[in-house]
Subunit: 407 residues, 2 copies
C-alpha cells in the first residue's frame, strides 16, 4: 500500500509551485482532486509543448490527478466545494494571497466544517508582511530573493537558474508543511494553516551563503561554476573538447588528482598545500589544471577519476539525461496517458520507497473530466447535470477555440 493511501487532497493550484507540491502527494498515494476554474482551467493546459490539444507542461505536473470543474463565483459549485471539505484531508492553493478569501474561503471557515483539515497556501512572498500582495513569477523571485546574484560567471552579471527553482523549492517546502500537518492531524484530529513562500524557501536553500555573509561581511558574488570552499572544483574542457566537472575537496583527493594529470609536484607547491589554501589561490591553480586537462580525453579522465573514487560529473544536456543509464535504472521517465491515447513521457516519482512500486504509466485528465464521477459523492445526478452540463460544454468549446488559435 502507498504511504498516503486514503488521503484526499482538494487541489486549487495552478502553474508550477502548487501542482508540483500536490504531484508528490499524488505519487505517494493521496487522491488529488484538482479543482479547475471553467471554462479554461489551469493556464498551463495551453502552453508548450502541445500535442493533440494536450500540453506537456500541464501533463508533467498533473499526471495521476483528477480534474473537476469548480467556479467559485457560482454559489452552487462553491457549496459543493464546501461539502467536499467535510471528507477531505487537505486543501492546497497557490493563488495570490487574498484570492480565496474573496469567495469566502478562509481557514476559519474550512476548520468549522472540518477541524481536521490542513489548509496550505503557497505564494511568492507569503500571506503576511509588506510584500504579501506582491505578484510573483519564478524569475522575479529568483531576482528579488538574491539567488540570481550568486549565479553566473566569475565577476559576471547575475544569471537565473534555468529551472524554475523558486517555484519548485517552494512546492517541495509546502509539501513538507502539508505532510507534517497531516501527521499531526492524524494524531490530534486538528489540522493546521500552512503558509509557504517562494522567497522564504529560496533564503532557506541559500543557507550558508546568507549566514556566512552575515558572519564575515563579504557579499557573495557569482563565482562561475566553482565552489568557494575548495579547488579545483568546476568544469574543465578536455582534449576532445568535452567538459568534465571536477570536485576536489580534500588533500588526499588532490594528491590522487595530481597523479592522474601527471603533476605530483603540485601537492608540494606552497600555494596548493591544503584545502584552505587552494580555493584562495584558485586563480593560479585553475590555469594549470586547464592546461593539463587539455592533454587528456574526457573518457580517460572519467575512468581515472572513477578508479580513484574521485568526484566528477559529465556536463550532460537534457537529451543525454533522458538517455542516462541511471535514469533508466531508476524509472525516472514515465508515461502520462490521456483517455484518447495521447501520451507524454515525463519525469517520474523521485521518492523510492519499500512497498511503493515505481509506476510507469499514469492516467491524466482533460479539463473537468472527473467532475461527475467525483461529485457524485456530494450531490444527486439531476442536480449535477443542472449545474454542470452547460459548464462542461463551455469548457470543451473554449479549449477547442484556444488550441486552434495556437495553430
Amino acid at each position: 500500500m502507498k504511504p498516503l493511501e486514503g488521503i484526499k487532497i482538494l487541489d486549487f493550484t495552478q502553474f508550477l509551485a502548487g501542482p508540483l507540491s500536490t504531484l508528490l502527494l499524488s505519487d505517494l498515494g493521496a487522491e488529488v482532486i484538482k479543482l479547475e476554474n471553467p471554462p479554461l482551467g489551469d493556464g498551463t493546459r495551453y502552453i508548450t509543448t502541445i500535442i493533440n490539444e494536450k500540453s506537456s507542461n500541464y501533463t508533467t505536473r498533473n499526471r495521476g490527478k483528477k480534474s473537476v470543474a469548480m467556479n467559485l463565483k457560482d454559489e452552487k459549485q462553491r457549496k459543493l466545494f464546501l461539502k467536499m471539505v467535510k471528507t477531505a484531508d487537505a486543501v492546497v492553493e497557490n493563488f495570490k494571497p487574498g484570492t480565496l478569501e474573496k469567495y469566502g474561503i478562509t481557514y476559519d471557515i474550512l476548520k468549522e466544517i472540518n477541524p481536521r483539515i490542513v489548509f496550505t497556501s503557497i505564494s511568492g512572498y507569503g500571506q503576511t508582511g509588506p510584500y504579501r500582495a506582491h505578484a510573483a513569477y519564478d524569475g522575479a523571485v529568483q531576482a528579488e530573493a538574491g539567488i540570481m546574484s550568486i549565479t553566473g560567471d566569475l565577476d559576471g552579471t547575475p544569471v537565473r537558474c534555468g529551472a524554475a527553482i523558486a517555484d519548485t523549492t517552494a512546492g517541495l517546502v509546502a509539501c513538507i508543511g502539508t505532510l507534517s500537518a497531516l501527521y499531526d492531524a492524524q494524531k490530534t484530529g486538528v489540522g493546521r494553516r500552512v503558509d509557504v513562500s517562494m522567497m522564504d524557501s529560496i533564503v532557506a536553500i541559500m543557507e550558508n551563503l546568507v549566514s556566512s555573509y552575515i558572519a564575515s561581511g563579504g557579499v557573495p558574488v557569482p563565482l562561475g561554476n566553482r565552489m568557494w570552499t575548495a579547488s579545483p572544483f568546476r568544469d574543465f574542457v578536455c582534449k576532445d573538447g568535452k567538459s568534465v566537472y571536477i570536485g576536489i575537496s580534500t588533500d588526499s583527493q588532490f594528491a590522487s588528482f595530481c597523479e592522474i594529470v601527471g603533476h605530483p609536484e603540485w601537492t608540494k607547491d606552497p600555494r596548493f598545500l591544503t584545502n584552505e589554501l587552494r580555493p584562495k589561490n584558485f586563480r593560479e591553480l585553475e590555469p594549470l589544471v586547464e592546461e593539463a586537462l587539455l592533454q587528456i580525453g574526457s573518457d580517460t579522465l572519467c575512468e581515472e577519476m572513477e578508479k580513484r573514487k574521485l568526484v566528477y560529473g559529465r556536463i550532460n544536456n537534457v537529451a543525454q539525461v533522458v538517455d542516462h543509464p541511471q535514469i533508466a535504472a531508476r524509472n525516472m521517465i514515465v508515461n502520462a496517458v490521456y483517455p484518447d491515447g495521447t501520451a507524454f513521457k515525463v519525469p517520474g516519482n523521485p521518492i523510492k520507497m519499500s512497498g511503493l512500486e515505481d509506476e510507469t504509466d499514469y492516467s491524466t485528465s482533460v479539463m473537468g473530466a472527473d467532475t461527475f464521477k467525483v461529485l457524485a459523492n456530494y450531490a444527486d445526478e439531476t442536480a449535477l447535470h443542472e449545474i454542470y452540463d452547460q459548464v462542461l460544454a463551455d469548457c470543451s468549446a473554449a479549449s477547442k477555440k484556444l488550441y486552434n488559435i495556437d495553430k
Copy 2:
C-alpha cells in the same frame, strides 16, 4: 504544540543534503539527535565562516539539533545506536551507498529491532542502478543531471546555480519521503525504507524541460535570464544603472507594460501581438525594451509596475536580501547560539504554520556535547563514562588542533 512533537530522529547525516532534510524536521518539532563520528564529526564544522572555533556552515544546518559522538567501528557505541533505534521514529543518513552496511546497519536489521522505524537514505545517484557507487558533490550532479546545461547566458556555456540546489532539492525531497513514511507508520505501525537521490530530484524539478524535449525533440539550451514561454521576461537595466526583472506573460500585462514605457504602438505590432508570438520574436522585442527602460529610473519603473499589479523583482544581492523588509516580517533570519555565547545569524524556518510560533533563537551544540545527556536513557553512567570519557576528550583535542591549523 509543534506538528512533529514526540518524533525522534537519529541523524547520521553530514555536509548539506542530509542536514537540511533533518533541519526541517527539527524546525517542525522533531527531536533530532545528530550522530557524529568522533573525533572530528561533521566536516562542515571546520569550514567557512569560522568564529570562536564554530562554523557558520555547520551552524546553519544543525541549529536546534543535539550532537552525540557515535563511532560505529566501536562495538559498544554501535550497540548503543541499535538500542536507540528501539525508541526512534526514523534514521536518516547520506553516506555513500553501502557505507552503513559495512557496520551491519541495514533496513532489515533496523526493522527487526523496531518495525515502525523509517530508514531514509540520501545519495548522489540512489541506492540502486549502475551509478549507485558513484561519488557525488553538488556541482558534479548539477553537471551530470543536466541542470547546468540549461543555465547561463543565451548561446553561452553551462553555468552552475550558485546555491547547491542538487543537495538542497534532494534534502527537501527526502524530507517529503520521510514524512510520508512517518504518516503511514503512525497508522500501520510499520515503517519504510526511503531512497532519494540528488540526480532523480534534479530531473523532477527540471520537469517540463524534460517532457517538452521528449515531445518536441528540441534540446533545451541556456537562455540567459529569460523564460522561453513569454516575453519580455528577463532582467533589464534602467536609467540609474540598476536592473529590474520583468515578467510579462499575458497580452493584457503586455498592454499595461507598453503604457508604462510609453510605447502603446507595440501592442499593434504584428510581431508582438500575442503571448505566443512575443517569445518567438524576442530578439526583436528585447532591444526595443532595453532602449525604452534606459529612459526610466528603476524606482519609477517598480512603482508603475506595482500600481498595475505587474510582476517584477529587483536584482538583490545577499546583503539586500538580509535587510529585506519581507524577510524581517517573516522572521527569516534567526539566531543560532552556542553555550559559550557564540552566535550566528542564519536562515530560519521557511514553513509558517498555525500553532507553530516562529522561533528566533536556537541552541546549537559543539561536537558530542549531548552524548551523556542523550545516552543516559540507554546505558548507566559508569558504562557511559567507560565508553565515552576518552572519546570526548579526543574530540575536544582534535577539533582544537584543526581549528588552530586554520589560523
